[in-house]
Symmetry: C2
Subunit: 433 residues, 2 copies
């Protein structure tokens, strides 16, 4: 009863590994279209920066490891071009057909450059695979570009801007909307803009890059261009096979990560998941969710009955050493969802001054009617991950602000202040409610 | 309708400030036995270390600040020697009587040295007030002691050992029990012992110091001795007035921080609070809890109706740069409470190697029957506070391990690993359940 997994990165390999653990006898095949598997896509900007020195460091496991240690047949350079669910088989580019009993679709997402003329020019890059990163770094080392344009002001865009700036390039970031890092809060965008400018990055919001020339993007000179925009879930293969997609455009799944076709599961960046704050399907492609949904899809494809509760939309990014962390939804998103959001923002030291405490900005959003916390942002150079994780945990359990305000958080002078900035924000929010 | 608060440190001043905010007209008097108020007792070891340079830095607010900014009459050197609740008045050492309508008792805790002969010798110190810390630092600067004995292996004991060692003293820590830092887990104690030894601190467990001589404590030579053991709640005043104490020896309170006498509240280190994991009263004196219970006591003393839900027993301490963080209860404590604990311990990198990730040890304890998380320890040089706070938040909402395992925690390479050590521990624990 073979299990076939399409995709050999985070979600696909989590699924295959979990299936193996639950069923030692199961025949498992992983089909990966590219030459390598199991890479940390989130590390690619740090390879471009030079912090990660060798491309091999981006690879966690090899196909040999999976074959020998886990008895999973991982096949690279094996692009699936069709799924025939009535026949329970997938067709490879080579013409070969691979039968399955259960299927996990983990085809990921892509940076869709089709709307940008000139995207195929030799000085234009995306950053999705180790190959992409190696080509970009090779280009920088050999051609010594001086001026870079980064298209996209999301996580990858700003991480790449940071990486290029640290290599002394002049960097311009073009962002189509007015929002950076996928949050609409004004202070968030102000602080992100300020941090970029402080580190010499030119930022232009409201600029949609439609074409790239040999030495510029519109008015902006460019010896090298990185496209970090237009991310879309890879759903064509699934859709052609009759798998339903949801309102986000990604593959619709139930809480067992099963698609509209029985026995066909989806996980990772190609799939929708439940957003625990809004109660609606969301598409927020991240490595953490890919791994978790992969595990659940793999378990259920192997005959288990596991459930993926959902996400709360937590993310974090470092922009020149300052963390921009967020979870849940913004006040604007809450209003759009029919709620009555109230928010409070405070600035406080992350630790006492005599432990070099840095200023941290915390914004909390709650619903006026229920007092339930809806979201938060934490911005600062210290301890932002831990703090946003506390709010993420509170969101997962639908905690109210008055409960949150009394959280028994750890305190000693090297680590925090006696009133943690999270609790100060909660106290402020209680006054607004 | 005057409010009187006994005690001018964390709990007392939180109570007075909160009462003022709720009732701008209330007559509020704070009676502090010592010469200063509003000091950060948790900072005292860092003053001894020299990291905090001036004793004034330990003081947050002055009596003048409270008088002028908050219209609160704060009286220092005003020791209360009796409470007559039938007359609604307290008696000062000076003979003066101060009437009250509502009373908040925030008398704190003390280091009881009465069982140790020689505790009054001039080279013997405790570390409870800025005066204590100033005297100890003065002694070190003037007498240049070379050998120190610290009595007590709890938080303050090890913080003081760290502080003295950094001033190049030879340091021996004597601990009566086999447990350091108030946890009984074997690996916790092994790692704490190892960290002390690695930094040249001699540790002797199972040694009860009963007498101190001019140049030694038992077999251990000592030019200076710090007693950081025998902590007890200051309840004599309350008990004499008929306020009930609980099984922990501290003042019993309800969830409004009201004592057995109507109109008399207690907060901070002299009071018991509800432990949300065990459901029983607990006495865990910490600055964070003092501030929170002070706020609630003050609000209710001013006619409010606020509730303090309880604590989960979170704490953290730095021992030569390594954090020892814990929350909830240990497996041993869980068994004693009639539960069936299962625990799992993992070691993992806190962040990727290319971001100088340090090894971190996470132990999670859950109840086999309900899968509910009961407690955790996190030990490591990075990010321990944020991680223990996530577990503390989970404990507050009685989260199960299978829910915890799917927490949507923040990930980007500068901050964490894609499977956070907390989630790895939860996965391991799921296998054990």
């Amino acid at each position: 009863m073979p299990l076939v997994v399409i995709g050999g990165v985070a979600a696909g390999l989590s699924a295959a590994s979990r299936a193996r653990r639950l069923d030692p006898q199961l025949e498992i095949t992983v089909l990966e279209k590219g030459p390598v598997i199991s890479y940390g896509a989130c590390g690619l900007p740090y390879f471009v920066e030079g912090r990660i020195r060798k491309p091999e460091q981006l690879i966690v496991y090899t196909p040999e490891y999976f074959r020998k240690q886990r008895q999973i047949d991982v096949r690279t350079n094996s692009r699936v071009v069709g799924i025939s669910h009535p026949r329970r088989e997938v067709q490879l580019e080579s013409g070969e057909r691979v039968p399955y009993e259960r299927l996990v679709i983990a085809t990921g997402a892509r940076c869709d450059t089709s709307g940008i003329a000139g995207a195929q020019l030799p000085h234009v890059f995306t950053l999705q695979t180790p190959d992409d990163a190696t080509r970009l770094r090779g280009f920088i080392e050999q051609k010594h570009p001086r001026r870079a344009v980064v298209i996209g002001g999301g996580y990858i865009g700003l991480e790449v801007a940071d990486a290029l700036r640290r290599q002394a390039l002049r960097v311009t970031v073009l962002q189509a909307s007015q929002h950076l890092l996928q949050r609409d809060e004004e202070h968030w965008n102000t602080l992100a803009r300020r941090q970029l400018e402080r580190h010499g990055v030119e930022l232009r919001c409201g600029v949609e890059a439609k074409s790239i020339a040999a030495d510029s993007v519109g008015d902006f000179p460019a010896d090298v261009v990185v496209i970090a925009a237009g991310f879309k879930p890879n759903v064509a293969l699934a859709a052609e096979a009759g798998v339903e997609t949801g309102r986000t455009g990604a593959i619709r799944t139930d809480d067992h990560m099963e698609t509209s076709l029985r026995g066909v599961f989806a996980a990772g960046d190609c799939a929708e998941v439940n957003h625990l704050v809004t109660g609606r399907a969301a598409w927020i492609p991240l490595g953490t969710t890919a791994n978790k949904t992969g595990r659940v899809a793999g378990a259920n494809a192997a005959g288990g009955r596991e459930r993926f509760a959902g996400i709360v939309g937590t993310s974090i990014v470092s922009v020149f050493g300052m963390a921009f962390a967020s979870t849940g939804i913004s006040a604007t998103e809450a209003r759009a969802a029919g709620l009555s959001p109230v928010s409070a923002r405070i600035e406080a030291l992350s630790r006492p001054g005599y432990f070099q405490g840095a200023r941290t900005t915390v914004e909390l959003v709650a619903d006026r009617a229920t007092r339930r916390i809806l979201g938060a942002t934490v911005i600062g150079e210290q301890d932002a991950a831990g703090r946003i994780d506390v709010v993420a945990t509170a969101l997962q359990t639908r905690m109210r602000v008055d409960e949150f305000e009394q959280l028994d958080l750890a305190y000693a002078p090297p680590f925090a202040t006696v009133w943690d900035p999270l609790l100060v924000a909660a106290q402020q929010l209680m006054k607004e409610l």
